[in-house]
Amino acid sequence: MHDINPKSELHGDIRKAVRQLCGDFGSHYWQSLEEHSGYPEAFVDALTQSGWLSVLIPEDYGGGGASLTEASVVLEEINRSGGNSGACHAQMYTMGTLLRHGSEEQKQKYLPLIASGELRLQSFAVTEPTTGTDTTKTRTFAERRGDRYVVNGQKVWISRVQHSDLMLLLARTTPFEDVEKKTDGLSVFLVDLRDAERKGLTVRPIKNMVNHETNEIFFDDFEIPAKNLIGEEGRGFRYILDGMNVERILIAAECIGDGYWFVDKARHYANERVVFDRPIGQNQGIQFPIAQAYAHVRAADLMRYEAAELFETNQPCGTEANLAKLLAADASWEAANVCLQTHGGYGFAVEYDVERKFRETRLYQVAPISTNLILSYLGQHVLEMPRSF
């Protein structure tokens, strides 16, 4: 049967190469990782060595210098192949904050090593237990003492800490009460995780619904050299915001990859499975939901390309990036549900991968940003309705 993605020839050489690599890490690989909650080390290594996770780093710093569309195709194809980009996608985009706001010295020091894979920067510590989505209420505090900052506080849901050498940290540097605007007074730091646990960082893994390495982390008088501050003190919130569009577009592409995977899996099964002497796909009750899910994946995909194109041509793309993420996450979740239903009881069997991908794609409704927050952005900033919170 033909490829259901009409864009399968767009950046066809990238797609082909990523699919080839992913083909060596099939169902069995992902299933056995789940059995022991393992990290896909070999897969991430293979991706790194072939340069896929450093495509967004400019060539001057040893990266691939790819466009955002090309980078998004890489993550799309990982998920389209049945894999899970969530294990490593942040290696692709977390460095963006360093690239855009780091000093030349910081960039020269870290980016080439990140590009070559010698250093992994794939952790980003923002979320806190008490503040949730309201990032401006961040409590983790970094106090300047001479040539260092001393950090105290707690973060939660911080992913890949155990498989990263570096981590970006958002912390308050001026107390909330003392700032004019609530978005002021937050700063971003580059934290070296390699010896951090000896210096006052405690990492406590959180068991969760997907095989996703994520943790609670605690800072107890944890020292960071002042030279690891990124950009200016107090402007961290803005730095984080301006990386969001890239993240949204890349995550949308992952959802699109999932969406095509689910629809493809569903249509094959619907054609093959014979009940009451005919393929179940002959029943409108099975066929139409698959077609509907496909339509939504295709529509979301258009928004993802539009958002990426705006970004690449230096035009405002916040609305489109948010729309792409929202539509794509909804479409992949719909496709997941339809795929599971199409498989009947077999959808619950581990060997079909449907239940695993179903759980994995569900996450995109909540993280890195929850659906409601995108809707509130659209309501307020695009549709000019009152701020809802």
Partner: protein, 258 residues
């Protein structure tokens, strides 16, 4: 150090072959680099990494075979060369090997030529030995490991995996080797490699430039045919083993088999 890999495209090993009414052979999937050659290309790139120098990927074939050359570049070879001339149309391996050998000689400084074990479409490997013969170089097949290689002293020591066991063989360079899967873990094309391959302009050398003449084809393929369809049928008998056996016996008597 200069290592050359000779390659071409073949159907993927999972592709199905059929002959259409016009007698033309077709495959169910788009052609890819001969799967065995991924090991050969990887070995060339690894040798380059260890010893410096350059790795060239080469094919004798029409435009469609550039796909294999691009894959070679994407995996890390430095340059690609395609040899083609309409005079080669309809020729067999022997003439192709003459062209390949002439191209390798034209490169001038080649120390080692690496082939995959065989070609996945025809499942033959005579081309490997024909090229070695035309060059007048030592050929070593079934190489599972390069144990030592010294480009300054022009020596190579390899482990060959034979039906009877392993053989460790030393030879002088330049040489031609055919490698098995055991030789390495094939490298994946990298993003940078793909970029380079997409931009690469691949030179095409014709027979005139190589200073050879291949004459008339010595063999001719008269016809390709599909495999005959198997007419056999399977019948399963149900019931307990005793009942199934009785039904089977009745059927065999009915069909006059017993």
């Amino acid at each position: 150090m200069h290592v050359v890999v000779c390659t071409k495209v073949t159907p993927d090993t999972a592709a199905k072959v059929s002959v259409n009414d016009a007698g033309v052979v077709g495959w169910s999937e788009a052609p890819v680099i001969n799967p065995w050659d991924e090991y050969a290309v990887t070995e060339a790139v690894l040798l380059k990494g260890d010893h410096g120098g350059q790795a060239t990927v080469m094919t004798v074939g029409k435009q469609e075979h550039e796909e294999a050359l691009k894959q070679g570049l994407a995996i890390g070879c430095d340059q690609a060369i395609r040899v083609w001339d309409d005079a080669l149309e309809g020729h067999d391996n022997l003439q192709y090997s003459k062209a390949a050998a002439a191209a390798i000689e034209k490169l001038g400084d080649v120390d080692l030529v690496i082939f995959g074990k065989e070609f996945a479409d025809t499942q033959t490997d005579q081309y490997v030995y024909q090229v070695a013969r035309k060059l007048g170089w030592t050929s070593l097949g079934a190489v599972a490991k390069i144990l030592e290689i010294d480009f300054n002293a022009s020596t190579i020591k390899v482990e060959r995996l034979l039906e009877q066991g392993k053989a460790v063989v030393s030879a002088k360079l330049p040489a031609v080797i055919a490698v098995l899967k055991d030789i390495n873990e094939p490298k994946y094309p990298s993003f940078m490699g793909i970029r380079k391959a997409a931009k690469a302009e691949i030179p095409v050398w014709n027979l005139g430039e190589l200073g050879i003449d291949v004459g008339e084809p010595k063999t001719k393929v008269a016809q390709y045919k599909n495999l005959p369809v198997r007419g056999s049928q399977v019948q399963l008998f149900d019931g307990t083993p005793e009942e199934a056996a009785a039904k089977l016996a009745d059927k065999l008597i009915e069909e006059k088999v017993i």
